[in-house]
Symmetry: C2
Subunit: 243 residues, 2 copies
């Protein structure tokens, strides 16, 4: 009898093939054979409490992680001590790709709320890539996604006004809700205003004022962390995705 049936409830052996996030997570697009192989390597560490770090700048890179529940932010630290949040990671999204240069992480990854992750050990992924033809492409896809996200954020920080940035952020949130089959027009923000501001390269006060302005304009409804999008078209128009 396998020991798997006796493990602690907090450390249930996860299974990608059984996971309801399998279509948007690491396993996206993988066939049954590949899924079975992935099931073998995936592990699930202890859940993280709010503010716990999954890894820190300088830690040895041993795995890629997928968020299973909760939300994890990744941030860069500068020479003079201030931080730039470079990503918020929701269930099904991957992190850990920073730190592939010298096998040392270059970001801090911190839980915004109680969160759990799945762990894909690099060493075992490496073997899988040799054994399974599609696995390499999968790894490329994952890293490519990180690059594309970063590029979008660069465009946002380099070229958009504060109003455009917040609208873009809300649309991105809404889009990710849709992917997860949650309501696209009503969701809770897992991060404080301060983190939104940091991520979008602006001051908290500006975020607050813009939420108020969008609410006045009947574009959204804000109640603390709860957001209801009333006029998706107008949001799209603000970021220039109209016509």
């Amino acid at each position: 009898m396998s020991t798997l049936k006796h493990v602690d409830a907090n450390h249930l052996k996860p299974s990608c093939s059984q996971c309801n996030l399998r279509d948007i997570c690491f396993s996206h697009g993988m066939d049954d054979d590949e899924l079975r192989n992935l099931d073998v390597v995936v592990a699930q560490p202890k859940p993280l409490h709010k503010n716990d770090y999954l890894y820190r700048d300088g830690d040895k890179t041993v795995a890629i992680y997928a968020v299973r529940s909760g939300c994890i932010k990744t941030m860069m630290e500068s020479a003079n001590g201030d931080e730039q949040i470079v990503g918020f990671h929701f269930p099904g999204e991957l992190l850990g790709v920073d730190g592939f240069v010298n096998d040392l992480h270059t970001c801090n990854a911190q839980a915004l709320e109680t969160s759990s992750v799945c762990e894909f050990p690099l060493e075992q992924l490496e073997s899988l890539c040799v054994a399974l033809p599609g696995m390499q492409k999968q790894m490329r896809r994952i890293m490519g996604k990180e690059v594309n996200n970063d590029h979008k954020l660069l465009l946002l920080l380099g070229k958009m006004t504060a109003e455009e940035r917040l609208a873009s952020f809300l649309l991105s949130m809404s889009c990710r809700m849709t992917e997860r089959h949650w309501k696209e027009d009503k969701f809770n923000l897992s991060m404080p205003r301060q983190d939104i501001a940091n991520y979008l390269g602006m001051a908290v006060e500006t975020v607050s004022r813009l939420f108020a302005a969008f609410q006045n304009e009947k574009i959204i409804e804000v109640d603390r962390r709860s957001i209801t999008i009333l006029d998706m078209q107008r949001l799209r128009a603000i970021v220039g995705e109209s016509e």
Copy 2:
């Protein structure tokens, strides 16, 4: 007798093992066996003239490219038409990693001056990754580097003042000159002010004024595209790398 000796001068079969950039390029850290294998897959397309595109947003991704000579910029295009330069690529530096999600590029890559590149076809790299154990790590390293660069730029755009940005840019240039065993304190910029401004998220006028200011302060000497760094310490102090 090999046909290699008879090819057109513009299409010389390149060799990583013979290349003077081998230590900082794709081949960085590879052993002799790996180098020999890389020599087989690397190709060299026609040189690019100034303003030629190596690839465009939407093109099929078929290869990773290494700059051999010249300089290539990559840029993101936004919905409403403006562009953000996300990287300048110098000899030995790689590009093409955008576009690994759906095998379609998401950036434009354009030559700033007459440039040549080496081409590493993805399909052949994939085979190499199965055959050679170290090759996978190499691919990871390359993509990781792109991610790290992007993160640094995010920090710059999100948190730095115009002065800090330009100082940071100059230090980065100097650092890359050193890697290439060129003078660390005297070099030519291959890009116009407009591109520097775009890359750093500011107006051309601000770049121009800051160059003038740095020159007044005897930190650098500027003569059109030629930069001489007079006081490296002060540049470091500006970006906060001193304390």
